[in-house]
């Protein structure tokens, strides 16, 4: 069965932080609120911000793994591009040229021997 209770930790902690921020403002807006109440609201705000920050940083860390798979995939494509189709033909042409030059130089030296 699918888990319908699973929540997004970033969303969840952000909602909690936003509620804490709204509560803190409500407390400040109330002229009868004392320092203890304000301190408690401010601490809740700090605490929820830390929790939200943790969730965001954890989410970014998870995303880094996904990015790594993408960059690896692109690296593989780059490697496949490095196989130069022209280079192969050029190598074959150069090799053929080298063979012909070798034959020419051999035939030149052998014909020189013949004439001698």
């Amino acid at each position: 069965m699918p888990d319908n209770t699973s929540t997004d930790p970033v969303q969840e902690t952000r909602d909690a932080f936003n509620k804490a921020a709204a509560l803190f403002n409500d407390v400040l807006d109330n002229g009868d609120a004392d320092d203890a109440q304000i301190n408690a609201a401010q601490q809740a705000l700090e605490q929820t911000q830390i929790a939200y920050g943790d969730a965001v940083l954890s989410q970014l860390e998870q995303r880094t793994v996904f990015l790594r798979t993408l960059t690896r995939a692109l690296e593989q494509i780059i490697s496949s591009i490095q196989i130069n189709p022209i280079g192969d033909i050029l190598d074959r042409a150069d090799s053929l040229l080298a063979s012909v030059n070798k034959i020419i130089s051999n035939s030149g030296s052998s014909s020189g021997q013949d004439s001698a």
Binding site: G31, D54, T71
Partner: protein
């Protein structure tokens, strides 16, 4: 024979003119990429600062709760140390991903501009000359050997252009979806950058607001102890001006104008600064109130600077996502142009302009 050669040559030229790598679209994409990368590096570097602030905030919070984390771990974990050796940070990985795309672009460029068919045909011309020399050395001649190699050069040139074009297209089609996903990755990430930054700013602004509230309350309490001066007296006029400034200061940080304290069941508005005491309102009291105003003003300035900074950050991220979106459009155009030559509708110029704007906006930001 000659007619056939001419026809082959014309065919070669025709093929060469039909199938070309879309260099205009490719150059536009590369320019847009460079601009987008510059903007992204500015955004990523800025976010790195936000992450660092978050770590410092967390450490400070834990310390304030009597639970400071020592700068050394409880246990030494050799496996973890080996795993972490040379490991890049999240930001470094994000910066490096741009580098991978850059290398992909360079590889495409190498295909487009690298090994030229001229170089190739040079080899075959040399081969033809060598065979001629060889035949000559044997005292024989091969009729038409020169023209045959000349045609071979032309055909090969066209064939290689086509081969390179196909390889370029293949590499482009293979890499494009991955590059698109990486760009989408950068676009999606901005929500987390903004979220974290906003939360830090909200906390910082809350601190400033609390300070202003404290000053407002102290002013209310101080005023309460003294008799209300006559409206048309110098003190009365001064107090009236202070009252106005106080209302402005409270409004600037979002404190309601009707904020009040209940005294014996009656609500007394702070901003009214009503004198309830019997002592006369003197210049000294006036000066004290003005000092509170000055102190509160510096908090208001800090509060507004935070607010402005966050608005600027939001705007910069907005422009940044537009730059990335535009880069995607230009890459899409390149992909389509590879099969069907088409006029460039999106140029890198607008991307470059917006990217530079993003960089200057980010550079002008202050830390929360």
């Amino acid at each position: 024979m000659n007619n056939r050669l001419i026809l082959t040559f014309i065919l070669g030229l025709f093929l060469a003119s039909c199938a070309q790598i879309p260099m205009g679209a490719f150059n536009s994409y590369r320019d847009a990429f460079t601009a987008a990368r510059t903007a992204s590096e500015a955004v990523l570097t800025e976010h790195e600062k936000t992450e660092k602030i978050q770590q410092e905030r967390k450490a400070a919070f834990q310390a304030s709760q009597g639970n400071p984390q020592p700068p050394f771990p409880e246990h030494f974990d050799p496996k973890k140390e080996i795993e972490n050796a040379g490991k890049k940070s999240g930001i470094e990985e994000r910066l490096a991903a741009w580098d991978v795309i850059s290398r992909y672009n360079d590889a495409l460029l190498a295909l487009a501009e690298g090994q030229t068919p001229t170089q190739l045909s040079g080899s075959f011309t040399a081969l033809g000359k060598s065979l001629d020399t060889f035949a000559g050395s044997l005292g024989a001649s091969i009729p038409g050997l020169g023209p045959v190699f000349s045609v071979a050069d032309t055909i090969l040139k066209v064939a290689e252009q086509e081969r390179v074009r196909r390889e370029f297209n293949r590499a482009l089609k293979a890499g494009e979806p991955v590059v698109m996903k990486i760009i989408d990755f950068y676009i999606d990430e901005t929500q987390y950058y903004y979220g974290l930054r906003r939360s830090q700013t909200v906390v910082a602004m809350a601190g400033q607001k609390r300070q202003v509230r404290n000053y407002a309350k102290q002013m209310y309490i101080l005023s309460r102890d003294y008799k209300e001066p006559a409206k048309d007296s110098d003190e009365g006029k001064s107090k009236s001006a202070i009252r106005k400034q106080m209302a402005e200061i409270m409004a600037a940080v979002g404190l309601p104008a009707n904020i009040s304290t209940t005294q014996n069941g009656v609500k007394e508005k702070w901003a009214a600064l009503e004198g309830k005491g019997s002592q006369p309102y003197t210049r000294i009291v006036d000066t004290q109130l003005l000092q509170f105003i000055q102190a509160a003003k510096s908090n208001v300035a800090a509060y507004q600077a935070q607010e402005k900074n966050l608005v600027a950050y939001y705007k910069a991220l907005g422009e940044y996502t537009l730059v990335l979106q535009k880069l995607k459009t230009i890459l899409e155009t390149l992909l389509v142009s590879a099969d069907t030559p088409m006029p460039l509708t999106s140029t890198a110029e607008t991307v470059l302009r917006t990217a530079l704007k993003v960089k200057s906006q980010i550079d002008a930001l202050e830390t929360p």
